[in-house]
């Protein structure tokens, strides 16, 4: 029998039709929508005079531009309010399940999907948001789509896609102390560049990946898009099943056993061929941070920013432009640089495990004077757990400001903006120019590193604070 990869198994079983010399007609099991990329899709449906084909396969939540304070009140920003109201109206009209502001499962779409147990192994999942790749952590094919495709899924539950190439990235060995899954992915992207996986779908494998919790796996899959990949996935295993068991939408009773039996078949056959493979050693990975304006511009916290040596033409110009934006010099160390803001949140690192890590680190300590520290849970559920576990108290005593769930300063569509010229060390996934507000300077790092920065006020290797 032909040896196939996990990706092939799921992809091939969702192809409704192969278009000759064209893309595949690809069936979508679950579709998530939010307020920003869906309104025009609904508008176009109306113009065409058609409805939503399978409303129960779509789930909605407003997350991108919602305020993170006073969520029980009317949204002040007129345009944001209009988008949220449109989402409500469309969900009502077409019978789509909505997790609205203030309800028990409101939150960032990529945080609530897994929490509700909607995200399951073997599924195809799309959303008009590139970080849909997060759901790949469960052994699903999940990727971001544009608004035209949102419209296609609403109208037909299918999109037209050419099958991407396959890449496997294996990380073997044990992670060192103070090294997290965020460091793994920042390390990988720094090695293969922000465009290095364009055209590919990535499977993450190896003992270092298998040892990770679901939350940590989601962090890795989340950032697949930051190296250009369409998405990333990890074969489901006991960790996956244990996470899912008992969740609202997870299979129950007899169905559970059947589902697990199927999920266990979802893995790459030994000897299956990938178009490209990378191997990394977990022992080489240390706490990472970005110094530039794309996620591929990452270094170990203890290292120096590279020099422009060896770069030419537009490569060199882009590198220098990026450093100029950040206010850094080629070749200088980042450690010790003063920071103004820290942000813990987003669909990359806004889950309970991340908040636990930060709380554990700052327990009994105080944030530095020069730091404004925001912590924004990825969902109401995370927020609730953080309260119940006493984490909120610890964080507030350390001087962190807790906000309500949403995307917040990850993309600064709401009021949570980093002022121009200020430095933010952030657990989110993008350090593009202006991502966290016009002129904001973002450095991406793990929740642990962010906690260390909050306490010292400067770029710090978390392991050095541990040791004291």
């Amino acid at each position: 029998m032909e040896k196939t990869t996990l990706f092939d198994k799921i992809w091939d079983s969702h192809v409704v039709r192969h278009v000759p010399a064209g893309p595949d007609v690809f069936f979508i099991d679950k579709h998530f929508i939010h307020e920003v990329t869906s309104p025009v899709a609904f508008l176009n449906l109306e113009k065409r005079g058609i409805g939503v084909k399978y409303p129960h396969r779509t789930i909605a939540t407003p997350d991108h531009n919602v305020p993170t304070v006073d969520q029980d009140q009317t949204i002040k920003d007129k345009l944001s309010r209009m988008q949220v109201e449109k989402l409500r109206e469309n969900c009502r009209k077409y019978g789509i399940e909505l997790h609205d502001l203030g309800t028990a499962h409101h939150g960032i779409v990529h945080v609530i999907g897994p929490e509700l147990g909607v995200t399951q192994p073997g599924m195809t999942i799309v959303c008009g948001d590139s970080h849909t790749s997060t759901h790949g952590a469960f052994g699903a094919i999940a990727f971001g789509i544009g608004t035209s495709e949102v419209e296609m899924v609403l109208a037909t539950q299918c999109i037209m896609q050419s099958k991407p190439k396959k890449m496997r990235i294996s990380v073997e060995g044990e992670l060192g102390k103070g090294v997290t899954s965020k460091d793994i992915i920042l390390y990988i992207i720094s090695k293969i560049s922000a465009a290095g996986a364009t055209g590919y779908f990535v499977e993450y494998a190896g003992s270092a990946i298998q040892s990770l919790s679901m939350e940590a796996r989601m962090t890795i899959c989340n950032m697949s898009i930051e190296m250009g990949a369409r998405g990333g996935l990890i074969a489901p295993d006991e960790t996956t099943f244990n996470y899912l068991k008992g969740r609202q939408y997870a299979p129950k009773g007899e169905d559970w056993g059947k589902a697990v039996a199927y999920w266990k078949t979802l893995k790459t056959d030994e000897g299956a061929v990938f178009d490209k493979e990378y191997h990394f050693d977990a022992a080489d990975i240390e706490p990472m941070i970005t110094y530039g304006t794309n996620p591929g511009m990452g270094i170990k916290v203890k290292d120096r920013i590279p020099t422009a040596e060896g770069l030419e033409g537009s490569n060199k110009a882009s590198f220098l432009k990026s450093l100029d934006y950040m206010g850094f010099e080629p070749g200088e160390p980042v450690k010790g640089k003063q920071v103004d803001y820290v942000f813990v949140g987003s669909c990359t690192n806004g889950r309970i495990e991340d908040i636990r890590a930060v709380a554990e680190f700052v327990k009994g300590k105080k944030k530095a004077e020069n730091i404004t520290a925001w912590i924004v849970p990825g969902s109401r559920e995370v927020e609730k757990m953080a309260h119940e576990e006493g984490l909120v108290q610890i964080l507030e005593e350390a001087g962190f400001e807790l906000r309500q769930p949403g995307c917040s300063a990850c993309l600064a569509m709401n009021d949570d903006k980093i002022p121009a010229g200020k430095y933010a060390v952030s657990t989110s996934n993008r350090n593009f120019e202006g991502r966290q507000g016009p002129g904001a300077r973002t450095m991406l790092a793990s929740p642990l590193t962010v906690a260390a920065v909050a306490v010292t006020g400067r770029i710090t290797d978390p392991r050095e604070v541990f040791d004291n």
Binding site: N294, G313, G434
Partner: protein, 196 residues
Amino acid sequence: MAYDKFTVLRDTAVPLPTENVDTDQIIPARFLKATERTGFGDNLFRDWRYDVEGNPKKDFVLNDPTYSGKILVAGKNFGSGSSREHAVWALYDYGFRCVVSSFFADIFKNNCLNIGVLPVTVSPEFADKLFAAIEADPKTEIEVNLPEQKITLLSTGEFETFDINEYKKSNMQNGFDDIDYLLNMSDEIEAFAASR
């Protein structure tokens, strides 16, 4: 939605050699709050085009009257980052019908094809030639021929052919979109959905 048909486009071009231009630069998130698909062109490259007071930045290419045209020649890895189709809407709304680069981000390229902006991938060498020719003479014309899958620098006659899959090509030439195709096969989709 159906869009303008694309066959042969002959025009001057705007050069933007910067690499890794991400979708947050093409259209910053704070301009994504509309519930309709109009007016995005005004905010195309907003933070590179205007300063915080809203005054045009002289050194940015879109503010330089020397350059114009429906073709944008862009640096490597254009359109990385977000899936926001608003980035393509902004390009389209501003007046671009074709983007040329030696490398495109995936979702961006898909989005282009879905709304009728033709992404043309050329070799890095050809991209450099285009940049040099436009810089030497901003009035230099480029011809993008979709039926022949060919891009030509008209001043010298140098050309390259480019890839596009047959299905997408015929969609672009006819101004069709995927939904038209999918709606025509609803029975097949329904049967498939029922089996899941």
